[in-house]
């Protein structure tokens, strides 16, 4: 019985949220739907943890959906790389489920709340699906599930601008998805297979064709659109700014990371590092774009007056760090990428949650309206400051660990100009986080503005869980960096 359960875990992590979503719709009551969402999200987190441990001990798992053996049926593959990403996605999902209740009650009409929870579950299902699947077409399907649900979620934002932002995201996201599909189609055309491992085996025979090269190009551009790599980032600031708080926190922390995961999976597992980075100049292109993203994103963040928009631009910059890591195509580089995926997920989750807590009280989030709140909302403000320090890369935080591993990865092969870009971008983070801190602590409450109390405890608990996790990683990063190193080994074809 228990072995049966263990054997089915890879499927359960997708099936549970997929089934729970219609249950939410049927239940219809906001409180009940939330409860279903909460239980499902934590169950998925538990499953992800068990899978992580199982892979760490026993090596990669292959699961045949419906009993159809790969490469004919859909295969779920779990290795050292995607279990880390899965753990991040479900972990953030679980913490968001705590956070969501109070925030949703304030931002979304009561009679539509059940739809919100259903869409959150579908989004979770889609992201988890992308992570665990070993089938290229199936990856596209899950990508669409997560994207469609997130369009809906963003459109539920309180302001009317949310509709426009969701529409903008829909157009860009669909283009991205379609590009991925075209790329996968090209690969299918040349290899006759959709199973990633199978394509990888058959690809070398046809690698020198224009079709495969075009396929790679389509996949790279499509995925880059999804994770908002400069200059394909224009949809992101609006989408993050106008989405409901818990959606911003969840999507900012997970969706872009999963899209990066998908691209890395294609580049390293399907095409192979040698093909993508040695035969084609993909590494150089990505490095340049990463640097531009880091600098321009941070620069734009400095000039924002809306807190959530500031964080969104910062995300664009942070994606640059992640891309820079894997674009080096070295073991150290991939380690840095994976480390920063997790750290940035946690940091941005915490920052958006703190911003959401401010929004919950004030119904606005512009830097001038949050002035002087350090005194009145001390816990929320302190959480924001601590997570912000991590973004700058102050030691004893997760962000420092990311920076350390990434600097090691770029200095080792002598790319000093990349190191300079990383440091300059970190210092720009100091400026934009500093602006928020000054607004919170050094300005008086504007005349006639409300003097609010602290946010609800449950929101603080969720935010502080992430903040403390971030500090825990900062003082004891060996498990995370170890997992990231194993992921790098798995991706570069060194076995587990």
């Amino acid at each position: 019985m228990i072995e049966q359960f263990f054997a089915q875990m890879p499927a359960l992590v997708i099936v549970l949220p997929l089934l729970a979503a219609p249950v939410c719709v049927l239940l219809h009551r906001a409180a009940l739907a939330w409860f279903v969402y909460l239980i499902t999200a934590w169950a998925c987190f538990g499953l992800a943890f068990l899978l992580f441990v199982q892979v760490k001990i026993g090596g990669p798992i292959s699961y045949a959906m419906g009993g159809w053996p790969p490469p004919f049926g859909i295969e779920l593959v779990l290795d050292s790389f995607n279990t880390v990403v899965l753990l991040l996605v479900t972990g953030i999902g679980a913490i968001c489920s705590l956070y969501a209740k109070a925030s949703v009650a304030a931002e979304i009409a009561r009679e539509r709340a059940y739809l919100f929870y259903a869409a959150m579950l579908l989004c979770l299902c889609g992201l988890a699906g992308i992570t665990v699947t070993g089938d290229a077409f199936n990856l596209f399907v899950f990508l669409e599930i997560s994207s469609l649900s997130s369009y809906g979620l963003i459109a539920m934002g309180a302001k009317r601008r949310a509709l426009l932002s969701a529409f903008q995201y829909l157009i860009m996201g669909t283009i991205g998805g379609t590009f991925m599909l075209i790329g996968i189609g090209f690969l299918y055309m040349m290899t006759g297979s959709l199973n990633m491992a199978d394509i990888a085996e058959r690809l070398p025979a046809v690698a020198d064709t224009r079709t495969v090269e075009a396929g790679l190009a389509f996949i790279v551009v499509g995925a880059s659109l999804k994770f908002a790599l400069f200059p394909l980032h224009v949809w992101l600031p609006n989408a993050y700014t106008y989405a409901p708080s818990s959606v911003s926190a969840f999507i900012a922390a997970t969706a872009t990371k999963v899209a990066v995961y998908a691209l890395m999976r294609f580049l390293f597992t399907v095409f192979g590092a040698a093909y993508a980075f040695d035969e084609l100049p993909l590494g150089e292109v990505l490095l340049v774009l990463a640097v531009v993203a880091m600098l321009s994103g941070s620069m734009a963040a400095i000039f924002q007056t809306d807190l959530k928009r500031l964080l969104a631009w910062s995300s664009i910059a942070q994606i640059g760090y992640i891309v820079m890591g894997f674009a080096l195509a070295s073991s150290a580089g991939i380690t840095a990428s994976v480390t920063h995926m997790v750290n940035h997920g946690i940091i941005k989750g915490a920052l958006f949650m703190a911003a959401g807590a401010l929004f919950w009280r004030l119904r606005t989030i512009s830097l001038s309206d949050i002035a002087g709140l350090g005194k009145h909302m001390p816990w929320t403000s302190a959480a924001f400051v601590l997570a912000g320090l991590s973004l700058i890369g102050v030691p004893a935080t997760g962000g420092f660990i990311s920076k350390w591993v990434l600097l090691e990865a770029v200095i080792e092969p002598g790319h000093y100009w990349l190191a300079v870009a990383i440091l300059v971008s970190s210092l720009m983070a100091l400026i934009y986080i500093g602006r928020v801190v000054e607004s919170l602590y050094f300005r008086e409450r504007p005349e006639g503005q409300a003097v609010p109390g602290e946010a609800p405890p449950i929101m603080l608990v969720a935010t502080w869980t992430l903040v403390l996790a971030n500090i825990a990683i900062g003082v004891h990063a060996t498990p995370l960096v170890g997992a990231a190193e194993r992921a790098a080994t798995a991706l570069l074809g060194g076995g587990a």
């Binding site: 700058i392 600097l407 090691e408 200095i411 440091l423 100091l430 000054e438 602590y441 990063a477 060996t478």
Partner: protein, 486 residues
Amino acid sequence: MNEIWLALLVGFPAVMSLAVAASGRWPNLRETVSIATSIALFAGVASFIGPVTAGARPSVTLLEVLPGIGLTFTLEPLGLLFALVASGLWSLTTLYAAGYMRGNEEHAQTRFFVCFALAISAAIGIAFAGNLLTLFIFYEMLTLSTYPLVTHHGDTESRNGGRVYLGILLTTSIGFFLPAIIITYLVSGSITFTAGGLFGNAGLSVLGAGALYVLFLYGTGKAALMPFHRWLPAAMVAPTPVSALLHAVAVVKAGVFIVLKLTVYVFGVDYLAETGASQLMRWVAAITVLGASLIAMTRDNLKARLAYSTVSQLSYIVLGATMASSLGILGGGMHIAMHAFAKITLFFCAGAIYTATHRKYVSELDGLGYAMPITFSAFFIASLSLVGIPPMGGVWSKWYLMEGAADAGQSALIVVLAISSLLNIVYLLEIPTRAFFHNPRPDTPRRWQEAPWACVIPLSITAAGSIVWFLYPLPFLQLLAPWAPQ
């Protein structure tokens, strides 16, 4: 001696800061907790004097931060010296701060004492750090915990001061120090402080070693080398006890202590002497010594003048490090202590003058000496110590620094030190001279008008310290014996 005590001592003030916060409603209890903590901390640190002098190097690793790199505390003589100075003067400063903060009716006193305790915790962490990563963690903790102290008043002026403070210290540390640590790690395979240095067989070119040394020294923004010194005058917007302990002792001494520590345990004195990798920074330090003294002469604001004097004096210690001679290390190490006693006295006096008369400009002090004789006598003693005139402790450190310069064949540095002493006379002794010999302004009090006793007693003790260390410098010589002449 149990090694775990090292970690406990680092954590102790941080933990006690919670007690300080909890007792915030009863100021007397709160200050008692602070003073008791500082005395206990000093006693704890002092208990290591015996073993360390005997050659023990206790070490403890708490956690593995990154694979192969731990949160490690290791005690060696320089760290012990710095920890003793910081914790010893903390207890006096707490007493002084109680008098000053109440005398000036400052707000948010509990936050003030809490941050103070955290800052001391960070300073002890720096003193005990066993590798560069641990050092860096506590370095940034010190920057961040002192930021609320610098911006204590919360007005526009302190916000701007805070911007400069945080901006320069974080920029230099993240921009220069962090890459320097990583390059060290990649080149030598280790970031653990090791006697004799890490680069002996690492195959680092002279140019590379020189560049790395520059990166490290400018990365240590707290050492206030020009042109990254502006944060220190900016930090003077803080209440005076902060300027006294943190910006004359704990924070700035952390900076120069790190310079000494890097020189001895990362590069190695012999390695620097052979390669000459420290030459460039030697001249940067010399320029800072003279340049900051010249700026100090132009400052009428007493605290600003003292701040520039500190910038100048810090570079004495950097000079000691960069001359790559063990006598220089000895002189630099002693100057950490001597300058600490003298400069904290000067700041205590500046605060006492402000508390008693609300004057903060040098030109307002004419004839004030008869109303505040104790304060200005202490000021006079401490000034002499900085100039380096017997019978004050400052003589010893200057003596060894000059001897080190001669030993390293750097007679130009002797000239720099001599000129600097003359400049010190001009801008420091002007103040007691004005107080005692100039005609008082009409509104200057003639009668006894000293600051509260809680202010006067600490400054008398530290001034007396300057004399005592002249007569009895043996403790420092014993502690720094590894670098003393045989």
